[in-house]
Symmetry: C2
Subunit: 179 residues, 2 copies
C-alpha cells in the first residue's frame, strides 16, 4: 500500500524537510498513529527521489556537514493529492499484546493480574497526561491550516487513551468481583 510513501509526501508537501526532520515527526506527532524509524525513512526518501516525486537540495551546515533538504515535485503533489482523497476500508483492528494477555486472564494468578493492570493504568495515564499537556498548547482550534491535522489527531489520541483507561478499570472491576 506504500503508506509510508504518502505519509512522507504529505509532510514534504507542507514544507521542505530533511530526513532527520521527518524522523522526528514520526516519533512524536505522527507517531501517535503512524510510527517509523530513520532506518525505514532514509531508504524511502531515496526511492521517492528516484521516482521523481521529491527532489533533494543539499545544504551545507557549518563547515562540511551535508543536509539533504527534500521538496515535493508537481508529480509528487499530484500523487499525494489523489491518495489523500481516496476512500478507506476500515483499518483492521490493531494488534495489542496486553489485550491478548488479558484474553487469557484466567491463566494469571489474581494478585499478579491486578498488579499488571495497575501498571498499565499508570502507563496509560502518563501517556494521556502528556497528550493533554501538548493539547493545552492550542488555546483553541488552530487557524493555521498545517496545524489543523495535529490538533484533530491529538484529540483522537486523547479519546483513545481515555477509552483504554476506562477499559482497564472495567477489567479490574470485573475480575476482582470474581476472586
Amino acid at each position: 500500500m506504500r503508506t509510508l510513501k504518502y505519509a512522507i509526501l504529505g509532510l514534504i508537501n507542507r514544507e521542505p524537510l530533511t530526513g532527520y526532520d521527518i524522523t522526528k515527526k514520526f516519533s512524536d506527532s505522527i507517531g501517535n498513529f503512524w510510527a517509523a524509524k530513520h532506518s525505514q525513512i532514509y531508504p524511502e526518501l531515496k526511492k521517492l527521489a528516484e521516482e521523481k516525486l521529491i527532489v533533494c537540495d543539499i545544504k551545507i551546515a557549518g563547515e562540511v556537514l551535508e543536509k539533504k533538504l527534500y521538496s515535493i515535485t508537481p508529480k509528487g503533489r499530484e500523487d499525494f493529492l489523489s491518495w489523500v482523497a481516496m476512500d478507506e476500508p476500515m483499518t483492521p483492528p490493531p494488534k495489542d499484546v496486553f489485550r491478548l494477555r488479558m484474553y487469557f486472564a484466567e491463566s494469571i494468578v489474581p494478585a499478579h493480574r491486578q498488579t499488571l493492570l495497575d501498571q498499565q493504568v499508570l502507563k496509560h495515564e502518563a501517556k494521556l497526561q502528556q497528550l493533554v499537556t501538548t493539547m493545552s498548547a492550542y488555546a483553541k482550534v488552530p487557524s493555521q491550516e498545517a496545524a489543523l491535522g495535529d490538533y484533530l489527531l491529538l484529540d483522537g489520541a486523547i479519546l483513545r487513551e481515555k477509552a483504554y483507561i476506562t477499559w482497564l478499570h472495567n477489567v479490574l472491576r470485573i475480575t476482582n468481583n470474581r476472586n
Copy 2:
C-alpha cells in the same frame, strides 16, 4: 517477540484445536486485537510441534480427510504461563491509515472530506453494532473461566469503537466550522 506463538499456545491450552479451528478464532473473537491468517498459522503450528510445545494427534474425518488436532505439552504450558504473566511495555500507538489521511485534512476538498468522514462513521457504527450484538449473548459476566477473556475483550473493542466514532464526529464538527 513470537507473539503469535503465545496466542496459539494460549488457545490450545484451553482445549485441543486444529489449525482450522485456530484460524477461525483469529478471524473473529481474537481478531479484534490479534488477527492472523492460515498462511501464518500452519507454519507456526509446525514449528511449535518441532519445539515440543504442542503435539499433534491425527483424526480421520469421513473416509480419508486427516484433521490434525493439536494439544499442549507440559513444556508448552509452562512456556505459556510464564509469558502470560510478564509485564508489558505500553503497546506502541497502532497504525491507522484513515487517521493519517485526516492528519492531512487540509489537503482534501471540504465536501469530499465530509463524504469520507460520513462513510467512516457508517463503517464504525456497523462494526459497533456487530460487537454489541455479540456482547448481548452474554446476559451477564460469564461464569465459565474460558469465556471471561472473550467478554473482557469484547467490552474493550466496544469502548474502542465508541471512542473512534466520537472522534469522527469531532473531526466533522471542527472541520465544518471552518468552511
